[in-house]
């Protein structure tokens, strides 16, 4: 019936009505896309090559000067380094712990929904509010963590968020706490897609220990999920902003300066929009590089078509 209504022969030339409908239905999204996404993005790229500041009457072209300045800007170098350290800590830890939690939850029947909810809770909690809770928890003098440390005999516990030695570590811990549950949920979805029969086959084939079965079945079949989780965690942690803005404002002494916070400060506090746009471009380049790496890895291996 359907084939009679819409003959396949017409595929190459869509009926006029259908083409018109297609255009009409994509038009609102197209306009919004153009005005709110494409043009501003191109404008940001353009701004990066100017020294524009809010209120200036015209754009002043300065070529690559912003990027040259970046190379000699100590603050930017620190921000980049801190971002790399932060990402390098949060990504493996939140993925490892997320996978561990998913495997433990999946391994039994008791308490599944409960623990899933517990680990997922930080994802749906207002980050700013929870950052305040962490600030109290990690407070050098009145915080419960240091109270606990003093109780077990640590005489001068670290100052956590207020010391330049530990601030990045503390932020990373909060970052892990925030994204562990998200990764766990993705891993749980990946695990549930592995056919049960494969585990049965592995047992019959002689995989006696749980570790053998993990290596033979779970880890390889989780490959696509893991790759996706790695990419998305990298991208999410490169974007770290909320906790820094709320808790440290990049301090103490720039020790927690990160890429997006520097961009925010240059653009919206110092109103140096050109320089800020240049930093945005670096940020965009990092994100694109990560996505490119993911596509590369996807093509090379984990595809079991």
């Amino acid at each position: 019936m359907s084939d009679a209504a819409l003959p396949r022969a017409a595929t190459s030339r869509a009926p006029v009505g259908e083409a018109l409908a297609g255009l009409m239905l994509t038009l609102p999204a197209g306009i919004a896309y153009l005005v709110l996404l494409l043009l501003p993005t191109l404008a940001a790229v353009t701004l990066a090559f100017t020294d524009y500041e809010l209120g200036m009457p015209a754009l002043n072209w300065i070529g690559l000067d912003n990027f040259r300045e970046m190379l000699s800007d100590r603050g930017f170098a620190i921000a980049l380094r801190n971002t790399v350290i932060y990402v390098g800590t949060v990504t493996p830890l939140s993925i490892g712990l997320g996978l561990g939690a998913a495997l433990l939850i999946e391994a039994g029947t008791r308490g599944r929904a409960f623990f899933r909810a517990v680990f997922f809770l930080p994802v749906v909690s207002l980050t700013v509010a929870m950052a305040a809770a962490w600030q109290y928890l990690l407070h050098p003098t009145i915080g419960p963590l240091n109270a606990l440390l003093r109780q077990v005999g640590v005489t001068d516990p670290p100052f956590w968020l207020s010391s330049s030695d530990t601030v990045l570590l503390s932020l990373a811990a909060i970052g892990v706490w925030e994204s562990l549950g998200y990764n766990m949920v993705l891993f749980l979805a990946g695990l549930s897609a592995i056919p049960r029969e494969l585990y049965a086959a592995a047992e019959v084939d002689g995989a006696r220990s749980a570790f053998d079965r993990f290596r033979l079945v779970t880890w390889p079949l989780l490959g696509p999920t893991t790759l996706f989780v790695v990419t998305i965690t990298l991208i999410r942690s490169v974007r770290v902003f909320d906790t820094v803005a709320v808790l440290t404002q990049g301090g103490p002494n720039k020790a927690s300066e990160v890429l997006l916070y520097t961009m925010y400060r240059e653009g919206f506090t110092y109103l140096r929009l050109g320089y800020s746009a240049a930093i945005t471009l670096v940020f965009l380049a990092i994100v694109l590089a990560l996505v490119w790496l993911q596509t590369k890895a996807m093509d090379r291996k984990i595809h079991y078509g």
Partner: protein
């Protein structure tokens, strides 16, 4: 075999319990601190239960000094407004990309894929300039507009609609429905799982967002809950952690409650929007 299983289950629950407690620690201490008087906090004792019950004073101060419901209302308006626009733009576009043949379809889809690569922080600067020139900073519009176009939503709905049988659309056409009618009366009701999943994803993301509100909003009139906590923290509360914790509890509660009521939907929503 049975003993081994019991031992394993005990180890499993023990490990999960331990890590669960670590994850819950900030919540536990936040709630505990919100019920203590300040001097008790300063003694930094490890007891969770307050010696002097001070919850009424703490929460009272929050409600007295912070327009809590106003912030929550702002959050609701912003998240609701964003979601409505996102669906209005993305559902028809997703349907057209999935089921209709029209010139330039490949280009539109290519643009969507390209848009997926751009984080929302990139267009933020020019949008700020434009909004400032247009004089709409400090308005709901400034908060809502940039998020109204979600290429991710278009992509998600396209993938979902493609899986719907063509016969459904053809039958509706034979019944004399217009394409717009098909979108809202046939396709969307069948895309309910995708729509709820996306709604949850969108609300969680924008309820928690701080970056954009921080840029376009000043003062409490249009502040979202995230901004509200930030203001309260730096202005009124200062170092009064007890009251700050009370405020944090109040602001965290709505979304957490929603999550606890519809746990399965939340988790599935995040998992499906994450993996597609």
């Amino acid at each position: 075999m049975a003993e081994r299983r019991i031992a394993f289950e005990a180890a499993r629950l023990g490990l999960l319990g331990f890590f669960g407690l670590v994850v819950l620690a900030p919540y536990i201490w936040m709630v505990a601190a919100s019920m203590k008087p300040l001097d008790e906090l300063f003694r930094a004792s490890l007891s969770l239960w307050p010696e002097r019950f001070h919850a009424i004073e703490n929460y009272g101060r929050v409600f007295a000094e912070v327009p809590v419901f106003h912030y929550l209302w702002n959050g609701l308006v912003v998240c609701g407004g964003i979601l409505v626009f996102q669906l209005m733009f993305a559902v028809p576009a997703g349907y057209a990309l999935a089921k209709l043949r029209f010139p330039g379809r490949e280009w539109v889809f290519g643009a969507v894929m390209l848009g997926l690569l751009v984080p929302p922080h990139v267009p933020a600067l020019p949008l700020y300039i434009a909004f400032s020139k247009a004089g709409i900073l400090n308005t709901y519009a400034a908060l809502i507009l940039p998020a109204t176009i979600s290429v991710f939503a278009i992509f998600l709905f396209r993938q979902f609609f493609r899986a719907l049988p063509d016969e459904l659309v053809h039958a509706a056409r034979l019944d004399g429905m217009s394409e717009a009618g098909i979108v809202w009366r046939v396709v969307l009701p069948n895309a309910w799982p995708a729509a709820t999943a996306f709604a949850i994803f969108s609300v969680v993301a924008h309820w928690n967002d701080l970056f954009w509100p921080l840029i376009v909003i000043e003062g409490p009139a249009r502040a979202t809950p995230a901004l509200g906590v930030l203001y309260f923290r730096s202005d009124e509360a200062g170092d009064d952690f007890a009251v700050l914790m009370a405020a944090a509890v109040i602001m965290t509660l709505p979304l957490v409650l929603a999550f606890l009521f519809a746990q399965r939907r939340f988790v599935e929503g995040i998992a499906t929007t994450g993996l597609k």
